[in-house]
Symmetry: C2
Subunit: 136 residues, 2 copies
């Protein structure tokens, strides 16, 4: 990771007819932007919410990013992360990267893994259980 | 949270035709059980995987738990967490609790919030982005 480049993160959300999925993906993106202020963070949703993923990529115009990492804010791989999203982003599932044009310049778009199994998820799930018990 | 009671956690998963959702929910449940060894942890899936949520509740037989917290290992609320799962568990969305029988005894079943917006999710998403950049 060449920290001299300007890096963008596109937080990818599933989308929902209810507001909660967009709220969480947007809230997580805001937390990343606040904590890692050298990174340009945008969001894009697969369906039912805006911005779409393509609109999310367009939202890096004028930011000067040279690389964008698209991070699925999904717990696990599935049809959406393995088939739908690579197709939307035009990313090969083998190379997990492509080159797109932003402001007429070549920008590398890299597709990351979803959240996956991690102690941070276990800690958060345990905290939710404790909160429910304490509210009892 | 009366720590003298024996507490169970039922990690609720969406389920998938791919193995990844079950792998993550099961992996998170194992991390909770390892880190918080005084808690009895089981899993249950909404669809496409076993154990089902009802089978997950049955799996607390013989454990002596007096309270079970059902924790949706979902990022955000949606139709599944607000409608489908409360119906499967027989939990009122208002009281978020019910009483079930396990080994002939009354056991309190409490429904927790899903993971939601949290700095832990932001940190994990940022780490996935960094890993994708470093693998580049």
């Amino acid at each position: 990771m060449i920290m001299s480049e300007k890096i963008g993160i596109l937080a990818l959300g599933h989308g929902s007819k209810h507001p909660h999925n967009k709220d969480v993906v947007t809230g997580v993106a805001e937390l990343i932007a606040k904590k890692y202020s050298n990174v340009v963070v945008r969001t894009g949703f697969m369906n039912m919410n805006s911005p779409t993923m393509k609109e999310g990529l367009d939202a890096f115009q004028g930011t000067g990013v040279s690389t964008i990492v698209a991070v699925p804010i999904f717990l696990a791989h599935g049809v959406h992360t393995m088939e739908d999203i690579p197709q939307i982003l035009g990313i090969s599932r083998e190379t997990r990267r492509t080159t797109i044009k932003i402001d007429g310049r070549d920008v590398t778009l890299i597709y990351s893994e979803p959240l996956g199994t991690d102690e941070l998820i276990a800690d958060l799930a345990f905290r939710r259980a404790k909160e429910a018990l304490l509210a009892d």
